[in-house]
Subunit: 293 residues, 2 copies
């Protein structure tokens, strides 16, 4: 009994140590959270801090900066000798193209007048001539003309936009809301003869079923959107560049697009309405955007 009495504190200490050890172990598990492991996977010690932006994060290790991959290098190389204009012709063409593109404006008032499908086919085909990282052509252009589907899209976009306006846009918006002429009502989503929803394919599926990362997919698809905007303007059509917040997953499901595609932009397309207006804004002069060295 005396021995037991002497041992009791020892046993108590051992018991406490065991309990303490179990507690410590149980704490360790949540200290390595399952989320944010991407930061570890993306860790590349040679990337300068200055460059840790979107470009670098989307850039892969097995990607040359030249947007060419080995499969392309395996291809036959063929001569390329496009038409060469005289200097006068180049000057005239570049001036004319500037004049045409400078007339482009983002237009929110779109006419319901029908537009030939063939013209839409041509502008999408033109967008598809864009360069892309390793020639992955990581874009899907969903062209919606069905009135019921356009209305479903409108309902999703407006519901999210209303929440954006009412709840998400922070206090500094509250006193400014009265000044806003536009709000979460997007009539053009019903009215425009076409809605073009542009999806970026974040990865591709190889013939063997494996995934293949599409490096620079967002930059590539954005470049193709630039060419699409040029093609629309060239055809005399208008649009407004929108990136509906938080609607991507719902619109992707509505349009039955696969999970490797993410919505990048939504462009309502048509003729401008006869009473269309645009804000009287100016563009920066050339000297403000160009530096010559």
């Amino acid at each position: 009994m005396a021995l037991l009495s002497v041992l009791t504190p020892v046993l108590a200490v051992i018991l406490c140590l065991v309990i303490g050890f179990i507690l410590l172990k149980s704490r360790e598990a949540p200290s390595t959270p399952p989320v944010e492991t991407g930061s570890k996977a993306n860790f590349r010690p040679w990337v300068d801090q200055d460059l840790q932006d979107d470009t670098e994060i989307t850039a892969g290790e097995d990607e040359d900066g030249d947007w060419v991959d080995i499969s392309e290098e395996d291809l036959l190389h063929v001569p390329y000798s496009p038409k060469r204009y005289s200097e006068e012709m180049m000057l005239q063409r570049s001036q004319d193209f500037y004049t045409l593109m400078n007339e482009r404006r983002s237009v929110r008032f779109i006419s319901p007048d029908p537009v030939p499908q063939e013209v839409i086919n041509n502008v999408i085909h033109t967008a598809g001539t864009s360069p892309s990282g390793a020639h992955t052509e990581p874009w899907t252009f969903v062209v919606v003309s069905d009135p019921e589907m356009k209305h479903q899209i409108r309902l999703i976009v407006e519901e999210e936009e209303e929440v954006n306006y009412r709840q998400r846009m922070g206090e500094k918006w509250v006193h400014d809301l009265a000044k806003l002429r536009t709000n979460w009502i997007k009539e053009y989503l019903d009215v425009a003869p076409y809605l073009i929803l542009i999806f970026k394919q974040t990865c591709g599926i190889l013939p063997n079923g494996k995934k293949k990362t599409h490096y620079y997919n967002e930059i590539s698809v954005s470049i193709s959107c630039g060419i699409l905007l040029a093609a629309l303007q060239n055809a005399g059509l208008v649009t407004v560049t929108t990136t509906p917040l938080n609607c991507g997953p719902q619109l992707r499901l509505l349009l039955r697009r696969p999970a490797n595609e993410k919505l990048l932009m939504l462009l309502p397309v048509g003729y401008p309405a006869s009473n269309a207006t645009v804000p009287d804004l100016k563009r920066k002069p050339l000297d403000d955007i160009m530096v010559k060295i």
Copy 2:
């Protein structure tokens, strides 16, 4: 003494609990690492997991998806009635523009022949007509024609590219390297009459000196690059879209660009060399990139 004997296990338990508590506390500190706090700052509970991609991370809370901000809404609205072509004319124009753009190829063999500066001015001016998030126009086009500066750029790019090839591109590249026709030698950086380096302005500086975030700056600048590529093609000039890995900070310092600017792309520009070749690749047919609903 009997009392002490009885209390000893109790004291031992208390001591263990205190030690255990201290240990637990000391473990908690490293379980909230000082790095990756960005994920906390970016945490927005309403964003679907599906949408946590580049677009959403660059999208701000005080940003409408329509790329318009309040300052723009304060502007006078003016009528907008651009030229409307006949359906036949639209069809013809859209077909011609497709044909022109479809002739564009990424060309790595560029002629040293001089190109009029005025043409370059016009294509940059055209790129500046691109839409941008909240009309921030977050782009700087640095046009380099000075031979010494071009050579400095080449040295920086080639040094980094060589490290890319030799060290960073992983084992699977090693056995493929022999097949590669291109390597880290970028002769076009010396030869092309112009190098256009496109910087995205990640934020702007307001007149009061405060910083203003440029939402969607990467998408905006990529769209403007798409319009730039269209303008170059229209003028009969060629380029290759490159995103030099890890060279951004060095090139930014070399070109004396401010810290709010990040290099997005580098385009060598000129006529194609007389012996220029391109890989014999095909583009996806229209049905593979367009979905009609």
